[in-house]
Each structure stands twice: as C-alpha cells, then as structure tokens.
C-alpha cells in the first residue's frame, strides 16, 4: 500500500531513481505540450492560446480522481504523504506575486527549467532571477518575511471539508468547472483566429 517511501517500503536510492524517472516524464510532457514556448504560456491570459488551461486542468482532474479512487480503495493513505498545510495569508500574497511574475516573466519555475534545457536563453535568465529571488527572500527572511509567512495557519485543510460538502461532490463540481473552462477558453482562442498572423499561428502551433 502506498505511499511507498514514507512507510519504508522502498529505500532512499530507489526513491531518488523514481524521482529522476518521474522528472524525465514531467520534462518530456512540459516540452511536448509546448510549455517551453513563453508565448503559449502567456496566451492563457489573453485567450489566444488555450493550451495551458487544457493541460493544467486535465492533469488536476486526472490526479484528483485517481488519488480519490486509490485512497478509497485503500491502496494509498493520503494522510501519510507530505500533505500541504494551509497558511492562507502568505499563500494568497505569494500567489499574487507569482501571478505578476508569470505575466512579466512569461514562465513559472518548472516551465523555465524545461525551456532553458532546450536552449531558451530568456528561460535561463528567468532561472537566474528565481535563484536571486529565493536568495534575497532568505537573506531578508528574519526581519521581513518570517511573521507574514507563518500567519494565517490553518493546518492540513481539505477543501471539500472546508466547504462542508462531500469529497466526491467537490470532485464532480470541479470536473464540471474544468470542462466548462475548456469550452470557454476554446471559444476565446477561436475568436483570435482572424487576428493572429500565419507566423504567429505557426510559432504557437495553432
């Protein structure tokens, strides 16, 4: 029964080998989905490219349903995983900063590594920025961020329980939301067809 490593069912070497293999799959899929193209990523915010929404929400729904089934069949105990604790205030503020960074920098940390690996110089510079940002955060942590980062602590919170509805119902509602978003973002992308040049369409693979 999973998770394997936290229960000592596999040793650390195997865990790290699996991490590497899963990383290869992760990098392959990011590249194959077109996420090394910064214009495709930014396209989600302007509507000319719906790829991000499709990949992202399909992955979320797949993982959500899969883990829900595995957990209820007793094949994995979610409580033994590194289940994230919720600190709502710093996460919300941090996420807004990341949203700004996404629009200005055109990548996120995962996609920038994938893009830099394939020769995107702007992604390499972006990674340099991430490292500078993390280092700057650490150096100023004790007097600038510490209190804020530990505020809004709620512990391990399941969103369905927080909303007061059943897990299955939440997953159903979220799946419906994802399907609706595919439809809306596809319409938005289609509305750009006449506005994009042939060059743009080629570059974006639309």
């Amino acid at each position: 029964m999973g998770p394997l490593f936290p229960q000592g069912l596999i040793n650390e070497e195997y865990n790290l080998i699996f991490a590497f293999l899963i990383g290869i799959g992760f990098g392959y899929l990011l590249e194959a989905a077109g996420f090394t193209n910064t214009r495709k990523l930014a396209g989600v915010f302007y509507g000319y490219d719906a790829t991000v929404i499709k990949v992202f929400f399909t992955a979320a729904v797949t993982a959500l349903i899969g883990l829900f089934i595995l957990h209820n069949m007793g094949w994995i105990d979610i409580t033994l995983t590194f289940y994230p604790k919720t600190f709502w205030i710093p996460t919300l503020i941090g996420a807004v900063i990341m949203g700004l960074g996404f629009v200005i920098g055109g990548f996120c940390p995962g996609t920038s590594l994938s893009a830099a690996s394939t020769g995107k110089i702007d992604a390499l510079v972006f990674i340099g920025g991430v490292i500078l940002g993390i280092a700057g955060f650490i150096f100023t942590y004790d007097f600038l961020w510490k209190e804020l980062r530990m505020s809004g602590a709620m512990g391990k919170v399941d969103i369905a329980q927080w909303l007061g509805i059943r897990e299955g119902l939440f997953i159903f509602l979220f799946t419906m939301l994802a399907l609706a978003s595919f439809y809306v973002f596809q319409l938005w992308q289609d509305s750009w067809q006449r506005k994009l040049s042939e060059e743009d369409k080629n570059e974006l693979g639309l």
Partner: protein
C-alpha cells in the same frame, strides 16, 4: 502532443509521485534546496543562525538526497529528449515579435525574481503548490490557483503591451 493527452499523462505522473514518494511534483522546492546548500557551504555560521535555513539543515535536506532535486534533473533530460524528437532544440529567445531581446531578458529576470520571492512566501509554485495541492484536495492548492491565475489575468490586462501588439506600441 495533444493538450488533453499531455494533461492526462501529467496527472498519472502526479499519482505515481504520490504513490511512490508521498510527494507531488514540485519545482521551486528543488531550487530552494540548492540555494540553501550553497549558502550553507559559503557561510555555514550565517546559515545556522538564519531561521529559514536552520530547520532545513537539521532535517537533513541535502540536495544530493532530495526527491525534488532529482526530479528537476529528470526534467532537464526529459525536456531535451522531447525537444530533440520535435526538432525544437536550439538557442533562441522566446518573446512576442514586437519586443526587443534586451527588454525580454530584463522582463524575464524581473519575473524570475518575483517567482523566487512568491514561491518562498506562498510555499510552492504552479506545480508544487497548485497542481500537486489540488491533486490531494488541499485548500492551499486552490488558494494558489485563484491567486496566481486571478492576479495573472488582472496583471495581464495592465501589462498587455508585453505580449500583444496594440496600436500604442506598433511603432
């Protein structure tokens, strides 16, 4: 690759990561561990006093024994494999055509710095905080989703000229 297929396979990878290692797919955590290890090597006494670094040193977070660091090494290989197969492996700068290379690189640097700060304050990035958090129904994942994409749409409107050629920046 078809977007839905890529998303489906990515979802299976997240399940595999949770099943095997009990961790989701994260990117910023690996960067953080490398930065921490570097600071610790350069200035050990400072690192042990810094209350962000100290608990992570005690927990034995060496990058050479960290799931997320091996994951990132894999990402590099996987991306290269895919780029070779699709014929996309070449040096270039990605940007909207009306933006100069220099401006693009400055913006990439600023964007990266913002991500560096945001991930440490918010406890993860698009993959570790949001996608992997959502996979286990964690409230923090959904807060991250609403924050990153909600703010993204607002900021995208303000900074439209970076990505979209408008009548204002045509020349």
């Amino acid at each position: 690759m078809n977007s839905y297929l890529a998303g489906f396979l990515l979802g299976l990878l997240i399940i595999a990561a949770y099943y095997i290692s009990g961790e989701g797919l994260g990117s910023s955590g690996g960067y953080r561990d490398c930065v921490i290890a570097t600071i610790h090597d350069v200035a050990p006494s400072y690192a042990e006093k810094n209350s962000f670094i100290a608990p992570r040193l005690q927990a034995g977070h060496s990058p050479s024994h960290t799931f997320l660091v091996y994951l990132l090494l894999g990402v590099i290989f996987g991306s290269i494999i895919s780029a070779v197969l699709y014929g996309r492996l070449k040096w270039s700068i990605g940007k909207a055509p009306h933006i100069t290379n220099k401006k693009r690189l400055y913006l990439a640097l600023i964007g990266g710095i913002l991500w560096g700060i945001g991930t440490q304050l918010g406890r993860g990035c698009t993959s570790g905080l949001v996608l992997s958090g959502m996979a286990v129904n964690s409230l923090s994942g959904y807060i991250g989703l609403v924050g990153i994409f909600g703010a993204g749409f607002v900021f995208a409107y303000i900074f439209k000229s970076i990505w979209i050629k408008t009548s204002k920046n045509k020349k």
